[in-house]
Amino acid sequence: MVWYVFESFGQITHLLGCIIVPLSFLGCLWTCYFCLKRRIMNTFLKYILGLTLANLFYTVANIMSLFRTGDLDSRCKIEGVIRESSWILSLIFASCIAILCYKSSACDGSSFNHSRFFRASLTVGFLVCSVLVSG
């Protein structure tokens, strides 16, 4: 997503970003740590970890946007790729969590293959990302 109307808010948003983005980065690291700390990892936890990792990359892109030094063009391409792909992956993982909640609420939920669904969603996610970001 691109923000055009923010030019007048440049200073404020930059200041806000400087406060929020590090907090977000720490939050992602904290969630990742506690997800990986668990011995048993069910499909829900895998999705939460996937979502957190995608958010972590999105936060990395946000951190990159706070510092504008060096070769802007190549740095911008890297940031753009990270931002778009992590946002799309976040959307896919969030949708998958919603679908999994729906499937888990059925009495015959045992017939639903969680690991297969996870693999399929990962494949679809990376395919969609590569199609949208490639050029």
């Binding site: 992602c28 911008c76 969590i97």
Partner: protein
């Protein structure tokens, strides 16, 4: 060969102020701008929004029917739904600002909220995960209590097994998220 705009890999640093993202070329026609909006904003976010809303409605309907069974699985669906909800709430101000905010001030405020929410995405998810952990540790305490009660119950060598207690124990031992 002329490639479609969304495959043109046209990254640019937007107005030199905020962030780099895929955007349409300088001097793109209105149709190209619309195509960009459709492929990169409306379709991915729209599909995700529809999936989340329908899944949530479906889950709510099923929850009424299978409340006992869901409780037995130990899956806290209400809390799990917070992850997609956070994602969708982040996107809502963008829709309001972009498509409903004809007034420039409304648009600016909506997009500022969107900016703050998307930047704090990891922090918000950490809050959701933290609340889940708290609920999980509460369940774990219950489980430990139940295990203690169950072992004392078994050691009493009672012939008349209370089926309800066994069912409760089974439910608690299956507790996961």
């Amino acid at each position: 060969m002329c490639r479609p705009v969304f495959f043109s890999n046209n990254f640019r640093f937007v107005s030199g102020t905020l962030s780099c993202a895929i955007s349409f070329k300088e001097g793109a026609t209105e149709a190209e701008q619309y195509l960009y909006e459709l492929v990169y904003v409306i379709i991915p976010n729209g599909i995700a929004l529809i999936i989340v809303i329908f899944s949530y409605i479906g889950t709510l309907c099923r929850k009424r029917k299978n409340a006992e069974w869901i409780e037995g699985t130990g899956v806290s669906i209400n809390r799990l739904f917070l992850y997609p909800a956070v994602m969708m709430v982040e996107f809502l101000p963008y829709i309001i600002g972009k498509y409903m905010g004809e007034d420039g001030q409304v648009m600016s405020i909506a997009l500022t909220i969107n900016f703050v929410l998307t930047r704090s995405i990891g922090f918000l998810n950490a809050i959701v995960y933290g609340s889940q952990m708290k609920a999980f540790s509460r369940k774990l305490e219950k489980l430990q209590e139940s295990m203690t009660n169950f072992s004392s119950f078994m050691s009493e060598d009672r012939g008349d097994f209370d089926e309800q207690e066994l069912v409760m124990h089974h439910k608690l031992t299956r507790t996961s998220f």
